[in-house]
């Protein structure tokens, strides 16, 4: 058996259910790895070592007694520090939030009900307001794919990306307002799933922008993302945006053939503006999909160029509306980049916010129109691989671009539209840094994107690569 910390969620759950391994061994293996590596990686903000070991012992006893076990029985999972866990402070990555949560977020509750063991809270860009994953309070997480240069992990779910990639936990929860699950997933070489808006409850999750926030899993395999979505998805009376549509058996649907699927390549405004090395890796992935019998055709979303303006208006207004009372009391304690970004929100007109919302409708129409001709869309997740932490700008095909805008360019459109997207590893640059691609589906059709991602993953070796020891 491989080292326990490199087993997937699916493998761990199976090994625990068949009593090939004890949950206590599994939790200890992860705690030891965190102890050894997290001083440098800085993925965790809080570790629940004692509680996790106690839960593991209870899980071990339940397995020994032949009790009915949940699908995640005994598997340790981390949560971005935006998710409430009863009795624990949700810091949001800030230095000043200090009130313990009165109850569990719905996600934490569903994970526990499925048998998962909550391992700890993970680092993030302060209040999730940044795609780089920078955090001055807890230290910026270290991208594990470069042991010598401190490269950006991507954000805002930086600790989740790093912890899963480095084998500190087999899966973690992230949240995604402009790309915050998919960006760190791509830069850290793992799978990130942003489900359809309304598929997974955000009750008990500290908001950034209510109409754009999505909760979703980050894992090392597509099968694990499917398994977690099966546990997490569904209507929640605590979150009025959740849907009553039935939840599919995502893991069972993975093996269905993908032959005949029509894949729409987003070239204009997406692939064509990516770094040539990224373009090459996505082109190779497209060839693999063609080899499965998928039909590739180019599609375009005519209103993509308006996405930055619409996103800005919506995020700035909604984020400032939420943070206003906190800013009144703690302005000096915010990270300067986050505080300054928030303050711009008070200079927006209500009409500009609504204009952003109306543009959102146009973009939805673009995507709906594309889905009359194809079954899913495909694009790179980012135009570049992980840059060093100090690089304020990135070079793409010889041209200098602002890092933040470059990071968000391909992910933000689908926060506006709410469509489900999975980011999967599609290769490595010459420097050994991972690159990801996005597969976008129709609303609530996570089955199709996970099926295609799984077929691609099974035909490639990217998910089997491990980062160098730090």
């Amino acid at each position: 058996m491989p080292e326990l910390h490199w087993l997937s969620v699916t493998e761990l759950a199976r090994a625990i259910a068949t009593r090939a391994v004890s949950p206590v061994e599994v939790v200890r293996a992860h705690l030891e790895r965190i102890e050894a590596l997290d001083g440098k990686l800085r993925a965790f903000i809080a570790l629940f070592a004692d509680q996790a070991l106690a839960a593991a012992k209870a899980a071990e006893a339940a397995a020994a007694n032949g009790e009915a076990l949940g699908p995640l029985h005994g598997v340790p999972i981390g949560l971005k520090d935006l998710y409430d866990v009863q009795g624990v402070v949700t810091t949001g990555g800030s230095s000043f939030l200090d009130r313990p949560a009165a109850g569990d977020s719905t996600v934490a509750r569903r994970l526990r009900e499925a048998g998962a063991i909550l391992l700890g809270k993970l680092n993030l860009h302060e209040f999730a307001y940044g795609p780089e994953g920078i955090n001055r309070t807890y230290g910026t997480s270290w991208n594990p794919w470069d042991a010598t240069t401190h490269r950006l992990p991507g954000g805002s779910s930086s600790g989740s990306g790093v912890a899963v990639a480095a084998g500190l936990c087999p899966a973690a929860m992230g949240s995604d307002t402009g790309g915050s699950i998919r960006i760190p997933a791509a830069l850290c070489g793992i799978v990130g799933l942003k489900p359809t808006y309304g598929r997974v409850s955000r009750a008990g999750v500290l908001p950034l922008a209510w109409s754009l926030d999505h909760a979703g899993p980050m894992t090392r395999t597509v099968a694990d993302a499917a398994l977690l979505l099966r546990v997490l998805a569904g209507y929640d009376p605590r979150d009025p945006t959740t849907s009553v549509l039935p939840v599919a058996d995502y893991p069972a649907a993975l093996e269905a053939p993908v032959k005949g699927l029509r894949v729409g390549l987003l070239r204009e405004g997406f692939l064509e503006t990516a770094d040539r090395e990224v373009q090459g890796l996505v082109a190779a992935a497209l060839k693999a999909l063609e080899g499965f019998g998928c039909a590739i055709q180019e599609v375009s979303l005519p209103h993509t160029k308006y996405v930055p303006a619409a996103s800005y208006a919506i995020i700035a207004a909604e984020a400032m509306a939420f943070h206003e009372p906190l800013l009144k009391r703690h302005a000096a304690e915010y990270a300067p980049d986050v505080r300054q970004r928030l303050l711009t929100g008070q200079f927006l007109l209500a009409t500009q916010y609504l204009k952003g919302q109306r543009v959102r409708r146009l973009l939805c129409r673009d995507v709906e129109e594309a889905f009359t001709r194809v079954d899913c869309l495909l694009a790179p997740t980012l135009p570049v691989a992980a840059p060093p932490i100090e690089a304020e700008r990135v070079t793409i095909n010889g041209e200098s671009h602002a890092r933040r805008q470059a990071f968000l360019r391909y992910t933000r459109p689908f926060n506006l539209t709410g469509h489900p997207v999975v980011s999967v590893p599609c290769g490595f640059t010459g420097e050994g840094l991972p690159v990801g691609m996005q597969i976008v589906g129709r609303p609530f059709d996570e089955v199709t994107i996970l099926r295609l991602a799984y077929a691609y993953e099974q035909a490639t070796e990217w998910h089997r690569r491990r980062p160098p020891a730090p």
């Binding site: 109409s211 209103h303 009144k328 300067p336 711009t344 200079f347 204009k355 109306r358 543009v359």
Partner: protein, 59 residues
């Protein structure tokens, strides 16, 4: 386009909720200017028939 510091501080003081500290003014100014510029690009769109997706469901 430019937004003067004085305008920002006056709007913040008289209309908005929070003052902008001296050390944040330049960054907020740049971001507001960039944002306004970006939002102007939306003026070329015909939004007459487009309803924003923010209506509440009754149940």
């Amino acid at each position: 386009m430019t937004v003067e510091h004085e305008t920002l501080t006056r709007v913040a003081r008289e209309l908005a909720a929070l003052p902008v500290a001296e050390e944040d003014l330049s960054s907020v100014q740049r971001q507001v200017e960039r944002g306004v510029e970006a939002l102007r690009a939306l003026d070329e769109l015909d939004l007459a028939e487009v309803e924003p997706p923010v209506a509440y469901r009754v149940v």
